[in-house]
């Protein structure tokens, strides 16, 4: 939540030094003005609850014991950090997020390439493909759980036969498959957009030079698509790391804790243990962790944060 100020980027704004105070100050404010409404809105709506979270995280407050609300300092953090469940949830979150992002980006790439060529019914196929993204996630999760995975009357066993219990036998795969189904269309749209903005001349030139389709793809298209792939992976991660509906509906985090990810673990602390203080502390820990990872990912690995310097 809170913005980690990065010293690396922060310094030198020579223009703002005393040189032409009036002019530059007005310039600065005219630059800032359009940003302010959004900034203030975001600060109020997201940072106030975050401050409340910080406050709650210092309380020992169990909803099931009325009147048990008292200040305990940092002991919730000690509890949370020493709890093995949170670590298990962290691993599950990473597995869940990484596998659904990678698989859906790869399938999305494949589908985008298929769609980037003219063929009869292309519009119809694209329509069919984007539909899963539009279906309400709660509806999708319920649909997969009851109509598809159900061992007795689900579609998979109905087609393949047998009575495999998919959800308890392969819980992580079951959740990931549902998420991939929902998110692949989104990835596909972004990548397709990238493919369609590629200049035809380059491709033509490559073809004239005698490059095979595969070579063209590998050496020209793929590097060109890189930012699009990065963007889809980034957006996918931001949303999928928060996966809740699918876990809540399909596996309830089980069997055991096999699919309990961080959001679901926090949910359990809030709504099953009713330890509001611990839940808040876990939330704060997760935010700090996520921001650390995101800072690293955004600034070091990804080129997305670099803007063309000219502006």
């Amino acid at each position: 939540m809170s913005s980690a100020t990065l010293e690396k980027e922060a310094p030198v704004r020579p223009a703002s030094k005393r040189a032409g105070p009036a002019a530059s100050r007005r310039d600065r404010w005219s630059r800032r003005a359009p940003l302010l409404p959004a900034l203030i809105f975001a600060i109020v709506v997201t940072q106030v609850p975050f401050l409340v979270t910080l406050y709650l995280s210092t309380l020992s407050w169990n909803a099931l014991r009325p009147g048990s609300r008292e200040f305990t300092g940092l002991s919730n953090y000690a509890t949370v950090l020493s709890d093995g469940r949170l670590r298990a949830a962290l691993v599950n979150t990473v597995v869940l997020t990484a596998s659904s992002v990678v698989v859906s980006v790869l399938i999305g790439l494949g589908l985008a390439i298929l769609l980037d060529r003219k063929f009869p019914g292309r519009g119809v196929v694209r329509t069919l493909l984007i539909t899963p993204f539009l279906v309400m996630p709660m509806a999708a999760a319920l649909l997969w759980k009851h109509a598809i995975y159900n061992p007795a009357y689900g579609l998979i066993n109905g087609i393949l036969g047998g009575d495999t219990d998919w959800v308890s036998g392969y819980p992580m795969v079951a959740v990931v498959a549902t998420l991939v189904w929902q998110w692949t269309p989104f990835m596909m749209l972004i990548i397709l957009a990238g493919l369609q903005s590629q200049s035809l001349e380059t491709l033509e030139a490559a073809r004239v030079d005698g490059a095979s389709a595969w070579q063209t793809f590998l050496h020209i298209t793929l590097p060109y698509l890189r930012p699009y792939l990065e963007l889809s992976a980034l957006l996918g991660s931001i949303y999928l790391v928060q996966t809740f509906d699918a876990v809540f509906t399909i596996t309830q985090g089980g069997p055991g804790t096999a699919t309990t990810n961080l959001p679901y673990e926090i949910y359990l602390t809030t709504f099953r243990k009713f330890e509001y203080g611990e839940a808040a502390a876990a939330g704060v820990v997760v935010v700090i962790g996520t921001i650390a990872v995101a800072t690293f990912a955004l600034r070091v690995i990804s080129g997305l944060f670099k803007m063309e310097v000219s502006r």
């Binding site: 359009p34 940003l35 959004a38 539009l134 309400m136 598809i148 692949t184």
Partner: protein
């Protein structure tokens, strides 16, 4: 003719991805007993029983609430995000990187962890079970993505075009309306659509912050789950109905979506 296998593959992929949705729609027209038969029923006499049960409960207020929450939050997001994106791209503020990162970082607090504090704040303000609460929350939820997207679109505008307009003596207002908006409008539409989709589909905050007045469509949907009896057919009927507005909007706007995204979703 070499293309034929690829065409077939594309069609097959489309059908595979669409099939669960089709199954959902079909199941909505089954009798409960057929919906839960083993093996699955492929041929059946369609019935409107499921839909009748859905319409027996008053769907309209839920749809209206969803519409209001999604529409208003989308508008609010665009109103806030567009100038902000401008200030982070065409005429960037000094610390635009930090500002942008701040916006994105607001998406990183797990919604589940934010729920309790938000609930407490909203309760103190007396804003529980109020559509406007949802409008504000959904706006905050979608703002980072919208700023990111709008910023990419604005960066796509060639500097020369703006300069040329200024050279012609057009004021900023005119140059924005004549030059910027036409270029950016597909991007604006794409952003709006995506914000609308996310708002419409949001479940977790809605279920915890609304009660009887401001309940949105996903709340209506889960009301059809029953622990005492069969419910798959009517659940599918309800799911089809509540997904329909967004699915139709997405279908109709898909070209704009691709065009919008392709005009530089990445910069």
């Amino acid at each position: 003719m070499r293309r034929l296998p690829w065409t077939i593959l594309a069609w097959a992929a489309g059908l595979v991805f669409f099939f669960p949705v089709l199954w959902m729609v079909l199941t909505g027209f089954k009798r409960e007993a057929d919906a839960a038969s083993n093996p699955p029923t492929w041929v059946f006499t369609p019935t409107l029983d499921g839909y009748r049960q859905v319409f027996d409960r008053d769907l309209t207020p839920y749809l209206l609430n969803s519409l209001m929450a999604s529409l208003f939050s989308t508008l609010l997001v665009l109103v806030l995000a567009t100038p902000a994106a401008y200030a982070l791209s065409l005429r960037p503020v000094g610390k635009w990187r930090d500002a942008l990162f701040f916006f994105i970082s607001t998406k990183m607090l797990p919604a589940v962890a934010a729920l309790l504090p938000i609930y407490l704040v909203v309760k103190e303000l007396g804003m529980l079970d109020n559509v406007w609460t949802m409008v504000i929350l959904y706006s905050a939820m979608n703002l980072p993505l919208a700023i990111w997207m709008m910023r990419s679109f604005l960066l796509e505008v060639p500097a020369s075009v703006l300069e040329a307009a200024e050279m012609d003596g057009a004021g900023l207002l005119v140059s924005i309306r004549r030059v910027l908006l036409p270029i950016v409008s597909p991007g604006l539409a794409a952003t709006a659509l995506i914000c609308f989709i996310f708002s419409w589909n949001e479940f977790f905050f809605a279920v915890n912050l609304t009660a009887t007045r401001a309940g949105t469509a996903p709340i209506f949907l889960v009301g059809f789950i029953s622990s005492e009896g069969l419910f798959l057919a009517r659940l599918c009927a309800a799911a089809t109905l509540v997904s329909l507005p967004v699915v139709l909007a997405g279908w109709l706007a898909q070209k704009q979506l691709v065009r919008g995204l392709s005009m530089g979703a990445v910069k």
